[in-house]
Chain length 284, copies 4
């Protein structure tokens, strides 16, 4: 079913829900989902509405302009309009570890991810054959300390050439530059292998082992310029015991990494995430 | 803050959200929460809206009639109107086990349960002193096979006399008659000490032990005439191991019973639960 | 590191741990792990010991006989002796659903499963290309109502020809005959897509949806002649909400299926599971 | 049943399990539980054994000396010997928040905590009546910046006078001095209201809210001189959503605080915890 999805943010005030829903009703929109959230502390209003497009009285192209003049202007809204077609185009960045890649490709293959994956980019060659077995183009862009700028330029060109909408760092072991990140605000999802904000940075499983924690975790978040500090989308944990080695923590942790990352992708693709400042509103 | 809460159910159709939110906006309602759900399979629409009462242009007494003529009639809605004051009056039914009672009274004492507890009814005397230490009247209504009818009559009189809104069976080990249940449709919450529908009936921890399950659970549900088959409100589980005895399962299970039951009470009191047929919509 | 693993069961009595550990010490065994469990209710003793083989004074071939005469006989023990090499040979049975297959092959590819997978058997052709992309032989053995006996014979011949140690039903949608099951006692692992004993049989996600449960689950168990009633190895659950469709329950459930099944395989391969009657002791 | 429990630590070496279990067998000990753990990284051996005391050939008083000369000396063991009687004496320190106190007293009242509680100490008077309703002496020891030394002296005298074995800080909002802590090495259990090492220090729920985490947690740990950095005993988490206020995080968090703390007490009382350096081995 063809759907339109409207995402709205503005200062909280009376009449917003009425105005938005009245707009949709006026043009015969059959509402499928409405969610709203008011952050009392900062007085901010968040809303998401999805409706059937086929029976809607406005064409896909008319909606945004009409909504702007008939509703958004009056309330000082920021809004974005989305459709569930064509599928968003997702690029995967990987390094050597295969578990998140496999997990995503498995869901993709089973038809459970509503995305297209036009390419996978890696700084290593290890996962080339896996990716190509799925019929997805694989690009090897090596990254060295000195080549970082050039490598990122190559990566950005590839993303542009493949009309990529958002990027998933599926255990990509390089830090992206601010310049790169600014091209994809709240459109780069990283999976960090700890329960943030615990164990920021490198080797979190080793740090978790040293600290003797009883649960380990994984955090999917949008990438911002500050390392591991972007808006958190999803977190998962798993229980560990004293006898688990670092290698076992890694394996146990990979299972929660996969779940947290795939949920984050699912929320992102379905426009369930509204980010503001450094936090996320997620309508699931 | 004084709030009004509107709960709506009807056949799904266009314009419902617009009509309800327009109604609230017309009378200057400051919306705090709006949630809606459409069950596609049965074509049914569910909605909950909460708004500030103090700045509303209609009095508490006017709202229902106006909503009926201005909105509900047109859409064939079933609706109910609630306020967060005065607090709902909750009766507790207990037998001998104290863990759920203690848990509820602890939350009550800490000011975390927005209810009044006018009385506790028990078929045993064991928990009398605990209840009275909290300054709550305790009524001992013994139940025997032959006295059941009379006992229930006594119980119902006590509930009426204390103007009870809803009943919580906090490990009350007696089965209520259909006649009793019909007095409180979707207003009796029971905690069953298993992950329903597994282990319906008596001694579920023994049954779980026999079956060798690796997780045990608890289920809070509305009581209906069929035993342990009413609409499920909340479920929780905890991990157990081969070395756990039945007595240990009981202790581990009590922790999840307490959490499931207190969540269910919280949802019920805050009018977050919409029941239809044998299922619940819970807006949390 | 080459390890020997001894699994012991017998009636509980004094001196067992001393006798087993003394036996290992006598022959200079460097113990890596010792776990024991006493089931008080039935008076049964369970033990698992793992030690370094390379520095052991007995050869791989001598151990069982010596243990029999020096220890087992005196205590009336049932015991089995295992080594962590060569790797156990695991056959996968699949039908059309790929998620468990992908998950297992992903772990296998990452070197995290200490098994060899000599073949995959399926009653459908859907997953042939995936399996072969991993370089694993795929055998298509169609099963119809009338052909069941012949099909199972073919399957058993394949298992024998490939020297298979144990079988994993990775969402294999056929019921095996008692005759088949008896060939692999406690060596066939099935993943059932519900939290057993709830929702035995076909279409458990539909049943869970109908019942309106708030958690769905998956159960890995050894296959016995009674459907979905064998010894439970591992169970996992995930939270669902009123708005989740059956299709969404299926997807959410697949994530817990994968985790429960992979843990079960891990425990089985590392000889962590001791089954007795219809329950498992698992030393993790 | 009267039990003896032996806790052993030493450098890993061959023959330890054999020696300990042979010792117990020699004196006709009926072993109930044996657990051992080898930390490969640091080459350290940990063991716990529990056996029936009544049928044991040594008296309670003889065991330690015999074990020292017959086993411990030879292996350079540190060991401690415990009995499940008389019950350990636990002091509770509280401030104003009642949830952990209620939870512990509820379990105590139900006979589920194998401890005696000779006194509760608080720097406030708020919880006096609750404590005394349970028949437990309540001591009010106010703490100000200047009085801290004197207050701690008073507290220590109370603990000595009441022959306290270990202390539980059930949301006691004061930092203990190193001098105090040294009197009770690995015998003071604190519940910290975050998933350590995230959100060390004051107001962790506020910090969690600010960071926008999707799970909040609680950590029970032994108190050491470094704040919130002692050996972790147990951790629990609960899911939160974007709409949860700080006050709601506090309530949700209290449920996991209670579970983590009560498990930690249970492990401690049953001598299931072996601490070494800054980590715990827990045989559950």
């Amino acid at each position: 079913m063809n759907q339109a999805i409207l995402i709205v943010q503005c200062q909280d005030q009376k009449g917003i829900v009425a105005a938005v829903s009245q707009f949709l009703y006026t043009y015969e929109g059959n509402i499928l989902e409405v969610d709203q959230h008011i952050d009392d502390e900062i007085g901010r209003f968040f809303m998401r509405a999805a409706w059937e497009l086929d029976s809607f009285a406005l064409t896909k192209e008319e909606i945004a302009a009409r909504f702007q003049t008939e509703v958004a202007q009056q309330f000082g809204m920021e809004f974005s309009l989305h459709f569930n077609f064509p599928k968003p185009r997702m690029a995967l960045f990987v390094s050597k570890l295969s578990h998140c890649l496999f997990d995503i490709l498995g869901r993709y293959h089973a038809g459970q991810l509503e995305v297209d994956i036009p390419l996978v980019i890696s700084n290593h060659l290890d996962l080339k054959s896996v990716v190509e077995a799925f019929g997805i183009p694989f690009f090897h862009v090596p990254v060295t300390k000195d080549s970082k700028d050039i490598s990122e330029e190559t990566q950005l060109e590839l993303l542009t050439a493949h009309q990529v909408d958002f990027v998933v760092l599926a255990r990509y072991m390089q830090i992206l530059s601010p310049r790169f990140i600014q091209q994809f605000p709240n459109r780069i999802i990283n999976i960090h292998h700890s329960f943030l904000p615990a164990f920021v940075g490198a080797r979190p499983y080793h740090a978790a082992y040293e600290r003797g924690v009883k649960l380990i975790g994984a955090t999917a978040h949008y990438v911002t310029e500050e390392l591991d500090a972007g808006p958190i989308i999803e977190q998962e944990v798993a229980r560990v015991r004293h006898h688990n080695t670092v290698a076992e923590l890694v394996q146990i942790g990979q299972d929660v990494e996969k779940v947290a990352l795939s949920k984050a992708i699912h929320y992102h693709v379905n426009r369930k995430i509204l980010a503001f400042r450094n936090k996320t509103v997620i309508f699931y």
